[in-house]
């Protein structure tokens, strides 16, 4: 009888547990921020750094859980037909308090009445992750735009920061693989990018596949992340 537990399963269930704690932490912090705002106490600003790090942790865990599922061949997407502007609005609402705390302005550009077929949870996850990074890397502006481009929907996040480092740039439709090694100096594992690619690629329509691009320049002159969904 095989009684040894699979390490991956242990990891996954531990992650679930950690995510629960993190959820409590996040909501407790929200309450504290609320109370602080009322009392106008001085530690107010520092809380947002805390919130940013909690969100970062949460995104990492979501990514790990998704990769775990991919490893176990349980990764599947759940698509439906959604109004794109509603998704963009949701993301703005989720992230506005954090970004505003540092004086970062969010701008959106998405036509009304545009609907598309995609997995809302996964695509929002990708965008939130990118937006959360903007907290650290942009100067004072973030722009979220979405529209139809040919037979694809694109969702783009641009900022006016220094842009992405050379090694992270991804060109349109480049054959994607997780080839980067972990950079212990910066703590960057490239896992975020890998997850984004995974999400993009799992969206297919007829023979077309989703993809991402990570470029510098864009409308605000900083980094520009785009996910394309067929």
């Amino acid at each position: 009888m095989e009684t040894k537990m699979d390490f991956l399963d242990i990891l996954a269930s531990t992650l679930h547990d950690m995510k629960n704690s993190l959820g409590i932490l996040f909501n407790t912090l929200e309450e504290s921020i609320e109370q602080c705002r009322e009392k106008e106490c001085s530690s107010y600003g520092g809380f947002f750094t805390l919130q940013y790090e909690i969100k970062r942790l949460n995104h990492s865990m979501i990514r790990l859980l998704s990769l775990y599922k991919k490893e176990k061949s349980q990764f599947a997407i759940n698509v439906d037909y959604y109004p794109v502007d509603e998704i963009v609005d949701d993301i703005v609402i989720q992230n506005k308090p954090l970004l505003s705390s540092k004086g970062i302005e969010i701008e959106t550009d998405c036509p009304e009445g545009l609907f598309w077929t995609f997995d809302r949870g996964l695509v929002s996850g990708v965008l939130e992750n990118v937006l959360n990074n903007s907290f650290r890397y942009t100067k004072d502006k973030v722009r979220i735009s979405a529209d139809k481009e040919g037979e694809y929907l694109f969702l783009r996040i641009e900022d006016n920061g220094r842009g992405y480092p050379e090694c992270m740039l991804v060109d349109d439709k480049e054959e994607l693989s997780y080839k980067r090694t972990i950079d212990f100096d910066t703590g960057s594992t490239g896992l975020g990018l890998y997850f984004s690619m995974l999400v993009a690629k799992s969206h297919t329509n007829e023979d077309r596949e989703g993809h991402i691009s990570v470029l510098n320049g864009g409308a605000l002159g900083g980094g520009a992340f785009t996910i394309y969904i067929p």
């Binding site: 629960n20 599947a76 997407i77 759940n78 701008e107 329509n205």
Partner: protein, 556 residues
């Protein structure tokens, strides 16, 4: 055009006060988070907040209170999970279409939607979420429900023609609820039995994107209209894209069964059970098909699961016990079978339909133990109970009983029952085939064929005689004739339908009469309760609707 988001759009703040009046139920096993949710809800001005720590408590509260909003965690510890709460609340009508149900989850929603194609919450919320997100979601969903209100009312009235018209109107008006409206329209087209239109509709939707629910709808239509090859390919396509959609497995298995591939059907269900084992109905179906395939090991396991999972569920059924008992008899464990039936007797005491099933199964176990006398007694006990039932006995149970009567030597009663089944379902080829199979199992195939064909020719002659009167224009006599026929065969859908038709044809010629209208409707209702998918149901219903005088139509 670029816009800077500064405050909540004005369309939402109009409804700000509305949220305050909502009654909310929070279902969450984790005390800390329950309190957090309460705090959030209070901050929107909501004062009526109830909570439940388990699924059982939630269902109980929903059965006695009407809530506007339900926030339910998916993971609720050892008892019912959030999906089961949702399914039970919908099935038992503890919530109607205006209730907002939000499933709260700790991770991505994929795990939750396994098999949830037919019972989906209004939305999912992934932990952690901010106060603002929840508020926005609640407002959006309340607004959406508000805009769908007139449609839902028409749905509840089963006025499908209006539902379609209202859906089309809103679909063309740039609504955020587009997806919901499209889903609803498809479902209603199927309910309306407008299969050609439904096919076209789903194909059009699939042109907009590869939506599993649209492919599922298309598969269902193909299945209902008997295009099993196309149904099979539709369900297979869904599974290929996302094998977690277990509902597609269920329907694929049904399709295989219709195509005569019982072993393939079993394999598909075994896959589905592996992906989502917590599903009584699926375990039950798998048990049946495995038993049919003489795979007693799988059948025993599945029925045991169904019995176990049913213990605390509203889906608990005596059939799971009796099926398990039958499998155990076939497996050569009649004593264990009797134990199961004793349990069943305790669980379902005071339920005559269950007692009939239990006694029939007991007779099989006694028979296996060569206790002929006990077997006979058990069957007779069941047979006597049939007369005490207020309504019809389901056909499957009727046939089981007939088989047991033959087995224990009471051919006279067995024959009487078989005749009743055959005559009530004379145009149901599949069922007649099942009756034949029973005689084959009993090794009296020739005798069975005789019984069946005698019963059939009687009812066919009866129906044809009535139709002749009708076609000769002798409507008054046709009505009389069919009314008598219905008295003789109250459970025959075709005879009931023809009785309704004769009455309505008469009224088309001589004008409507309230008494006749009522009578016709009662026949139509009978047809509906016997076979909700009866092919001419829609035609009969419309015919009836057109006969209702204009003034009373408005009055009602």
């Amino acid at each position: 055009m670029a816009t800077t988001q500064d405050n909540i759009p004005s369309s939402q703040s109009i409804l700000a006060d509305d949220l305050k009046k909502k009654k909310v139920l929070v279902v969450e096993d984790f005390l800390n988070f329950r309190l957090t949710l309460r705090t959030m809800l209070k901050s929107y001005g909501i004062s009526y907040i109830d909570d439940a720590a388990t699924g059982e408590e939630a269902v109980q509260k929903m059965s006695s209170n009407k809530y506007d909003i339900i926030l339910c965690d998916y993971n609720l510890g050892p008892g019912k999970d959030g999906q089961q709460v949702l399914e039970e609340a919908r099935c038992c009508e503890y919530m109607d279409h205006s209730t907002v149900f939000i499933m709260v989850t700790a991770e991505n929603t994929m795990d939750m939607i396994m098999g949830a194609l037919e019972y989906q919450p209004d939305d999912y919320l992934i932990k952690p979420f901010s106060k603002e997100s929840l508020e926005k979601k609640l407002r959006n969903l309340s607004t959406k429900k508000e805009s769908l209100k007139t449609i839902e009312k028409a749905v509840e009235k089963k006025d499908y023609t209006s539902v379609i018209a209202l859906c089309d109107e809103q679909i063309n008006s740039h609504t955020k609820s587009l997806s919901d409206l499209l889903k609803l329209k498809g479902e209603i087209l199927i309910k309306k039995q407008a299969y050609a239109e439904a096919t076209k509709f789903y194909e059009k939707v699939l042109g907009m994107g590869n939506l599993p629910w649209a492919m599922f709808g298309l598969g269902k239509v193909k299945f209902i209209t008997g295009n099993y090859n196309e149904a099979k390919s539709a369900f297979e396509k869904i599974i290929k894209k996302n094998n977690k959609i277990v509902a597609a497995h269920d329907w694929l298995a049904k399709t295989h069964e219709k195509m005569g591939n019982d072993s393939e059907a079993q394999r598909v269900l075994e896959d589905a059970v592996r992906i989502s084992p917590k599903a009584i109905l699926r375990q039950r179906t798998l048990g049946n098909i495995a038993h049919k395939n003489k795979d007693n090991v799988t059948a025993e396991y599945s029925f045991k699961e169904a019995v176990k999972q049913g213990k605390h569920s509203f889906l608990k059924s005596p059939t799971d016990y009796t099926c398990l008992a039958k499998v155990l008899v076939d497996k050569g464990s009649p004593m264990e079978s009797l134990h199961v039936l004793t349990d069943a007797g305790r669980e379902f005491s005071g339920n005559p339909e269950a007692s009939i099933q239990i006694s029939v199964a007991e007779s099989l176990a006694f028979k296996k133990l060569n206790r002929e006398e006990d077997a006979g007694k058990a069957v007779q006990k069941a047979y006597k109970l049939v007369a005490t039932l207020p309504g019809r006995l389901p056909v499957d149970i009727e046939l089981d009983l007939a088989k047991a009567l033959f087995l224990t030597g009471d051919e006279k009663s067995g024959k009487k029952l078989v005749r009743h089944v055959v005559q009530s379902n004379h145009d149901n080829q599949e069922l007649i085939g099942n009756v034949q199979a029973i005689f084959r199992e009993l090794n009296i195939e020739d005798k069975g064929r005789e019984i069946i064909s005698a019963a059939l020719s009687e009812v066919i002659k009866l129906n044809n005689d009535g139709i002749r009167l009708f076609q000769e224009g002798n409507l008054g006599r046709a009505i009389n004739f069919f009314e008598q026929a219905v008295d003789r065969l109250p459970d025959n859908r075709t005879i009931n339908a023809n009785a309704a038709h004769a009455l309505m044809a008469y009224m088309q010629k001589h004008g409507s009469q309230p008494r006749l209208l009522e009578k016709a409707l009662s026949y139509i209702d009978r047809v509906k309760s016997i076979d909700p998918l009866y092919k001419n149901l829609e035609i009969l219903t419309n015919m009836h609707k057109e006969l209702i005088p204009e003034e009373s139509r408005n009055g009602n």
